[in-house]
């Protein structure tokens, strides 16, 4: 009996000591990082910018009161010879323990990416168990990476959320940018047959104005953050920016397009028809019978007519067939333009090398080392597009066909 009491006593006391309080961190001791940015200054040191969430102000804003006093985020910068050193130097400015668990955005400056490349700076992020490998990576276009984090935004109160949200929306609606995670970047950096593409983001307006609360207290913001093209890398260095249809071509060949629009000329008139791609599938295959592989990109797109600005007879199936052919030509032209420019850049961002690797491992071994410089620019790339128009919305012909002329 005595035994049992002693045992019970030990069990009771043990609950005090082993109930998970080892290196405990209370929420009010943590500084929640929402985004990080890496720049390089003139002295050659890394500048790390950390965007911290101001929890009270975010919650207050959502309830409609309490906001307007102070911003939703606070930004700190620190310097160091390596990314991690910069991080530790930042602790001298912040009263709480930095917590990366909620960080979901890594911004890298264009200058750093162009001059030195991004290869050296990502290890610290990948290694840390606290940082997610699914964090988004973006390149700051025309601006310093740190400045991108300093600008306040409306609707999404945390700028990092705004950046991620914008990327996702443009990816879904138009396909000019795409979600690139830390893991994607590292995978493409290490792959011999695929180069890195990262979405760009830029500040429109005055940077100093963007830091102030007044910026978000107006209906039209002086300073806004915008998704801005795709950064094309070669061996870890930024070499080119693609915009508009050019960047959509990249996303298209990578088969990441979910929805997009194509504007067509018709019978001599420019930009008459708007076609909305609702679903598409792109397949890339390689024929390696000859010395130089032949790449075939097959696109199959399905969608609706969304805008007509002339008197096209959409009730006529033959007319629809003609429009489909025209569409195929237009998409083909756009994709081919993207391929040609990329071949001039000598950077295989489409992963054609990986396709060759898969279909003929023996030949790939010989081509692997000078793939980007010798083989990729000279590849013959066939683009085959099949486009289908299924519907045309709630009207058949446009009212323009009934108007008296």
């Amino acid at each position: 009996m005595n035994h049992k009491w002693i045992l019970l006593f030990f069990i009771m006391t043990s609950t005090v000591f082993i109930s998970g309080c080892w290196s405990k961190k209370e929420l009010n001791e943590l500084a929640l990082i929402s985004a990080m940015a890496i720049d390089k200054n003139e002295e050659g040191k890394y500048v790390k910018t950390i965007q911290l969430v101001n929890p009270g102000n975010v919650a207050g804003g959502l309830q409609g009161g309490g906001s307007g006093q102070s911003p939703t985020v606070t930004v700190y910068t620190a310097m160091g010879d390596s990314v991690l050193e910069a991080h530790f130097h930042a602790t001298s400015k912040i009263s709480r323990r930095l917590y990366h668990g909620h960080a979901n955005l890594i911004v890298i400056s264009e200058e750093l990416a162009r001059e030195e490349g991004i290869t050296d700076i990502l290890d610290a992020f990948e290694r840390d168990p606290e940082i997610r490998t699914t964090s988004r990576v973006v390149i700051a276009h025309h601006t310093k990476a740190g400045d991108l984090l300093k600008s306040l935004t409306a609707i999404d109160r945390i700028p990092a959320e705004k950046v991620n949200g914008t990327l996702q929306t443009t990816e879904r609606a138009r396909g000019e940018s795409m979600k690139v995670t830390l893991q994607n970047v590292i995978t493409t950096l290490t792959s011999a047959g695929k180069e890195t593409v990262i979405s760009g983001f830029s500040i429109k307006g005055d940077i100093e104005q963007g830091k102030k609360m007044e910026n978000v207290q107006q209906s039209e913001l002086d300073t806004t953050l915008e998704s801005d093209g795709l950064a094309i890398f070669k061996e870890g260095k930024l070499i080119d920016w693609y915009q508009g249809d050019m960047s959509r071509g990249v996303v298209w060949i990578l088969d990441k397009i979910q929805q997009t629009d194509v504007i067509l000329d018709w019978e001599g008139q420019e930009n008459i028809l708007a076609y909305n791609v609702l679903r598409q599938k792109t397949k890339v295959s390689a024929d390696t019978t000859n010395d130089l592989p032949v790449i075939t990109v097959r696109v199959r797109a399905e969608g609706d007519i969304r805008e007509v600005r002339s008197q096209i007879d959409l009730t006529d199936p033959y007319e629809i067939l003609d429009i489909e052919k025209e569409l195929e030509k237009e998409i083909k032209k756009q994709l081919e333009n993207t391929v040609i420019r990329t071949q001039q850049n000598k950077s295989d961002i489409f992963g054609f090398g990986e396709v060759v690797h898969r279909s003929d491992p023996e030949k790939w071994k010989k081509m692997k080392d000078d793939w980007n410089d010798t083989y990729f620019p000279n590849l013959k790339v066939n683009v085959k597009v099949e486009a289908f128009i299924r519907r045309s919305g709630l009207r058949t012909n446009s009212y323009l066909s009934d108007m008296k002329q």
């Binding site: 290196s23 699914t134 990986e354």
Partner: protein
């Protein structure tokens, strides 16, 4: 030996949990690159053969554990030395599993906690379970097996739904030919995890239906081999070969990649549950074998009494076997496979089986010769009555 009985179904579960235990944790078969799953499947086929060897020995001596029948086969002196080596081997392996467990938790989640604390907690749990006996262990395994299956299915579902599987990462199949795959099999996957079922030779005597042992064991190895191969194939298809090669815990990285509709992410807890349950059972089985083996070898009547000292030994061993993680993994996947696993899992059991086979043949032929006189004797006895 305690008087306990295990059913065939319980053996199945125990073998499956044992096989998956630490194999899900560490990066196995990565030398075969994208063909790792193939190396596992070939290792599984080898595992079948090894299991038949262990089962063959068991069928000659169905009622006694290996530590005892080794002495019958090899003679008392040599047999005792060999049995002692096996007990040490089991102790070492359970220390290894314990270290795997601690390293995983520290690297990924408790990076400020000392290894000693985590390992102590686990060892205390294992000691407690083993003191309660093998029946308690298998009944616990029945309960937790259901949990593991549910977790596994839901993780698989989430991985598929989040669309991160890229089958193209598994291509090209057999890029360097079959050679590296075979090499990986014979230097690694055959012994770890499949050859380790040798430990179940210590448990066979407890089975209530010895006839089923063979079928159930093969089924369990087949099942766990398929699960393991598909998990590794999923890892490769999600992360790609390069990322796998750099990940100490590939399954964790795979699970961390899951993102479903913006809020189902960071599902690390799935990984913790699956691996901790698996490691717990693997460790329990190894530990139980060490305890029973020691008791049997040194004629200790109450084997449960040994669990505390042996537990302490394993705890200290688990911390001292390697000074860092790289050393631990390098030893586990490349050194001990050839210098410990190969002789102790393959060569010695095969030799034992051969000797047992010859010995028993002799016995049988002797028996058949004696058949007639015996009967005569019995008849005489009856006549007396």
């Amino acid at each position: 030996m305690e008087k306990a009985k295990i059913s065939a179904y319980q053996l199945f579960i125990l073998i499956v949990l044992f096989e998956l235990g630490s194999a899900l944790l560490v990066p196995i078969a990565i030398e075969a690159n994208q063909d790792a799953w193939l190396a596992i499947l070939i290792g599984m086929a080898g595992g079948f053969c090894l299991y038949l060897v262990y089962h063959g020995l068991y069928s000659y001596y169905p009622d006694i554990p290996p530590t005892e029948y080794i002495q019958k086969i090899m003679g008392s002196f040599l047999g005792k030395i060999l049995a002692f080596i096996y007990v040490l081997y089991f102790i070492y392996l359970s220390a290894r599993v314990l270290r795997d467990f601690g390293e995983m938790l520290i690297t990924a989640f408790y990076w400020e906690t000392p290894l000693f604390i985590l390992n102590t907690l686990m060892v205390l749990l294992v000691i407690y379970t083993i003191r309660k006996g093998i029946e308690v262990l298998v009944r616990t395994s029945e309960l937790l097996f259901i949990l593991i299956i549910l977790l596994g299915i839901s993780v698989l579902f989430l991985i598929v739904v989040s669309g991160i599987i890229q089958i193209s990462n598994l291509e090209p199949v057999l890029e360097e030919g079959i050679k590296p795959v075979i090499k990986t099999t014979f230097t690694q996957t055959l012994y770890f995890p499949f050859g380790e079922v040798i430990i179940f030779a210590m448990i066979f005597p407890y089975l209530n239906r010895p006839k089923k042992v063979k079928r159930i064991g093969l089924l369990a190895i087949g099942f766990s081999g398929l699960v393991l191969a598909s998990v590794i194939a999923i890892n490769v298809s999600v992360l790609g070969v390069n990322n796998i090669n750099r990940s100490p815990f590939p399954l964790l990285s795979t699970i961390q990649t899951i993102e479903v509709s913006g809020f189902l992410e960071r599902l690390d807890v799935y990984y913790i549950l699956i691996t901790v349950i698996g490691v717990f059972f693997k460790m329990c089985v190894f530990f139980y074998a060490s305890v029973v083996g020691t008791a049997n070898l040194f004629k200790v009547k109450e084997s449960a009494r040994l669990s505390f000292p042996l537990g302490l030994a394993i705890l200290i061993l688990s911390i001292t076997i390697a000074s860092n993680y790289s050393e631990h993994i390098k030893e586990g996947l490349h050194v001990i496979t050839l210098y410990l696993h190969l002789p102790l899992q393959v060569i010695i059991p095969s030799l034992l089986l051969l000797i047992a086979f010859i010995k028993n043949k002799k016995k049988k032929s002797k028996q058949s010769k004696n058949l007639f006189p015996k009967r005569k004797y019995r008849l005489v006895e009856r006549d007396k009555k």
